[in-house]
């Protein structure tokens, strides 16, 4: 296995290794450091907040600070949205807590990091709560999620909860400049600001965009390069599908919808979520059109949760797009 230090993708290469290096989370870091000084007092943790704000990074830092070089031996990293069901989680947790020597120096437990835990269903969470109880003598859990509201109460009450908010603009700019310097990349001020604005507080997006821009162009990275990167890396299929529908070509837009489902393996709700995100980036819409479209997206997102067949709901949504596009399509 390649060590992290040799990482090629900057998001990993410059992922902070200690809590001190973490960007812009002073309060959270201070509280966590208290646990590090006396690990016996560390409870289960719940880290909640929008993507790209450092939740996974903080969890990995904790693992390193607790176990040093050997952190991988004492840490089980799971992603709830990848594991098929609670049974897999249960088995892996059980095996892990059985085989890991659950004592390292003054740390009397092993660490289990469960990412995207809000993707688990209610029953699965109830089972998880039971697992947390039975393994509490040998393990500590760090649960990571986007919305703490989707975590059942009994689990929340067993955890110390830390909320991660959108990263500060200036802190992000500093961090990007710092990376650019280490990589010997020159970055214009405008380019940096353009990246940060695009990323909307998501540092992962920002760093990926920076690295892609560096791959595009030698020498100074200017705003033009960044705009090109953003254009090529932002979702095109979903926008095209929406445009086709708005221009009245329903059949073609439905074909693209099936491509998203078939080739990319997206679920109905993932597609609707992307449509909602892209809607506000689309140019050429009047404010009324945008409002109407946002309304129908919301309505069909709801029906999606009520209905039986997501293809039907998505098709019906695209048909609404075609109707709205036809009625007020002069501006498109």
């Amino acid at each position: 296995m390649v060590a992290e230090e040799d990482a090629v993708m900057w998001v990993e290469k410059y992922r902070p290794k200690t809590l001190n290096e973490v960007v812009d989370l002073k309060d959270i870091v201070e509280s966590l450091k208290a646990f590090m000084r006396n690990p016996k007092t560390m409870p289960h943790l719940l880290l909640a907040g929008i993507p790209g704000t450092g939740k996974t990074t903080v969890a990995l830092c904790i693992a390193r600070e607790l176990f040093g070089q050997n952190w991988r031996t004492f840490t089980l990293e799971l992603n709830a949205s990848d594991e098929r069901g609670i049974d897999t989680v249960r088995e892996r947790v059980k095996d892990f807590s059985r085989y890991s020597r659950a004592a390292f120096g003054n740390v009397p437990f092993a660490l289990i990091i469960l990412d995207e835990s809000d993707q688990m269903t209610g029953p699965a969470q109830t089972a998880l709560r039971r697992i947390m109880e039975t393994s509490s003598r040998t393990s500590r859990f760090i649960l990571i999620c986007n919305q703490s509201g989707k975590i059942i109460e009994p689990i929340q009450s067993r955890c110390a909860i830390f909320r991660f908010s959108k990263l500060d603009r200036d802190a992000m700019i500093d961090h990007l400049c710092c990376i650019a310097k280490k990589e010997n990349v020159t970055l214009s001020r405008e380019a940096t600001e353009r990246i940060v604005d695009y990323a909307e507080g998501d540092l992962r997006h920002a760093i990926n965009a920076l690295q892609t821009a560096a791959a595009y162009k030698e020498g100074v990275i200017d705003e033009k390069t960044v705009t090109q990167v953003i254009g090529e890396a932002s979702p095109l299929q979903v926008q095209l599908m929406m445009r086709k529908a708005l221009f009245g070509d329903f059949v073609e837009s439905r074909k693209m919808m099936y491509d998203l489902i078939g080739s990319f393996g997206f679920s109905g709700s993932e597609i609707v979520r992307q449509m909602q995100r892209e809607l506000f980036k689309m140019s050429g819409l009047t404010p009324e059109q945008r409002a109407d479209l946002a309304n129908v997206i919301g309505e069909y997102d709801y029906r999606l949760t009520q209905g039986a067949n997501s293809d039907i709901q998505l098709s019906a949504l695209l048909a609404q797009f075609a109707k709205i596009g036809k009625v007020k399509g002069e501006n498109l």
């Binding site: 996974t56 979702p235 059949v251 078939g262 080739s263 393996g265 019906a316 048909a319």
Partner: protein
């Protein structure tokens, strides 16, 4: 409903003499009504659907001036429910008795063979007690009097049997309706409708309405689509009739006659809808109905089957958005979804594996890798320094090539 009234309601006879067929049954029933004190207190009318049992009771009420307190299958008929409605009605001789317009009440329980085992617990025994204690006559109607549950009821009731109505009588009735509705109808067409109904007057009138109401004309050609009610109606035939339906009623009838699985039907209608409606506004409206049908399907789940009628209502409305715009088209089959998933399986698996590798490296789930990382990796691979990234992510040649050709998300 777009139509003001179903013709079966509009032309329901008001007088006993106008109820067609079943002369014996009519006179037996009238005799019982007139001499109710000397004979049994309850009467059971039984026979196939649509031959006039309910109609006769209402016509008699109209003619003799009594009031019908009715309970039918759509009401719950557990012991409690029956007592609540029928108890007070049968226990007191109402004040109405003294008023001049009304000569009293009768209790009419339609479709007693529909009293279900568990839901309507205690239903039959409650009816029995009701008959015993009742001060007013009790009329019951059933399609199938032979089921065991009803045996106790048959013992205490007078029995009147209804038969299928003879075809010539039905034809005459249809002709009369055509005249009143100003419909030009070929005799052969009416004959075919009557024969197809197998003595069920209600279905004959419904068929006539669905075929002729819109155009006010009826030829033998129009009746070709009629199919016997007990025949197996497959997907193509269902869809063909459904999409070409000239009215809500016809669409709804096409659906109710189909023997196709609900979910397959829903999917097939969703697939074919854009071929039926070319106008975006019409298509959006129709899809909205289909979407609502799907929501009902979701609510039905595996147990709430009583909601099925709303599912079918919404589907029928999708076919009736603009009957005038119908043009024949060839149906899409098999389902688009099935075909798509079949042809794209390889690509999906490949992308999933790549996302798994990225997820391992970058501490993200496959789903996040797909939306947040793959687009950048794809962009980087198209430029310089690609080899390092490829080997770090442990991608093989096939996967790199795949990413290069991948449509931009």
């Amino acid at each position: 409903m777009r139509e003001d009234l179903l013709w079966v309601e509009k032309y329901r006879p008001k007088r006993i003499a106008d109820v067609i067929g079943n002369e014996e049954a009519k006179s037996a029933f009238t005799d019982w009504l007139k001499n109710k004190h000397r004979s049994k207190k309850a009467i059971l009318l039984y026979g196939p659907p649509g031959v006039g049992k309910t109609t006769l009771v209402n016509a008699a009420a109209h003619e003799f001036g009594f009031r019908v307190i009715e309970m039918n299958a759509s009401d719950a008929r557990s012991e409690k429910a029956i007592c609540k409605v029928a108890g007070p009605a049968t226990a007191f001789v109402a004040l109405d008795t003294f008023s001049s317009e009304s000569k009293g009440n009768v209790l009419f329980m339609d479709e007693v063979d529909g009293i279900a085992g568990n839901e309507d617990r205690g239903g039959v025994s409650t009816i029995l007690r009701l008959i015993e204690e009742s001060r007013i006559p009790v009329i019951m109607a059933a399609n199938d009097p032979d089921i065991d549950k009803l045996r106790p009821l048959k013992k205490v009731s007078a029995l009147v049997r209804f038969h299928q109505v003879r075809i010539p009588l039905i034809i005459a009735m249809l002709q009369e309706i055509c005249q009143k509705e100003h419909i030009e109808a070929e005799f052969e067409a009416l004959e075919r409708i009557a024969e197809n109904s197998q003595g069920d007057v209600r279905s004959a009138i419904n068929d006539l309405q669905s075929l002729a109401e819109a155009s006010r004309k009826l030829t033998l050609q129009d009746t070709v689509g009629l199919s016997a009610r007990n025949k197996d109606v497959g997907m193509d035939e269902t869809l063909g009739g459904y999409f070409s339906a000239k009215s809500l009623l016809e669409a709804s009838m096409r659906l109710s006659r189909s023997s196709v699985d609900y979910d397959e039907l829903l999917m097939a209608i969703g697939d074919n809808l854009p071929l039926r409606y070319r106008d975006p506004a019409e298509l959006a409206e129709a899809y909205d109905f289909v979407s609502q049908a799907d929501v009902f399907r979701g609510r039905i789940g595996t147990e709430n089957w009583h909601l099925l009628r709303y599912f079918f209502n919404s589907l029928a409305m999708a076919a009736a958005v603009s009957p005038g715009s119908y043009q024949p088209f060839s149906l899409i089959s098999p389902p688009i979804r099935v075909i798509t998933l079949f042809w794209t399986k390889g690509r999906r698996t490949m992308l999933n594996n790549i996302c798994g590798k990225i997820g391992q490296r970058c501490h993200v789930s496959r789903a996040t890798a797909k939306t947040d990382v793959v687009p950048y990796v794809k962009a980087m691979l198209s430029r310089r320094k690609a080899d390092e990234i490829v080997s770090w992510l442990e991608l093989d040649n096939e996967e790199v090539e795949f990413l290069g050709k991948l449509n931009r998300l």
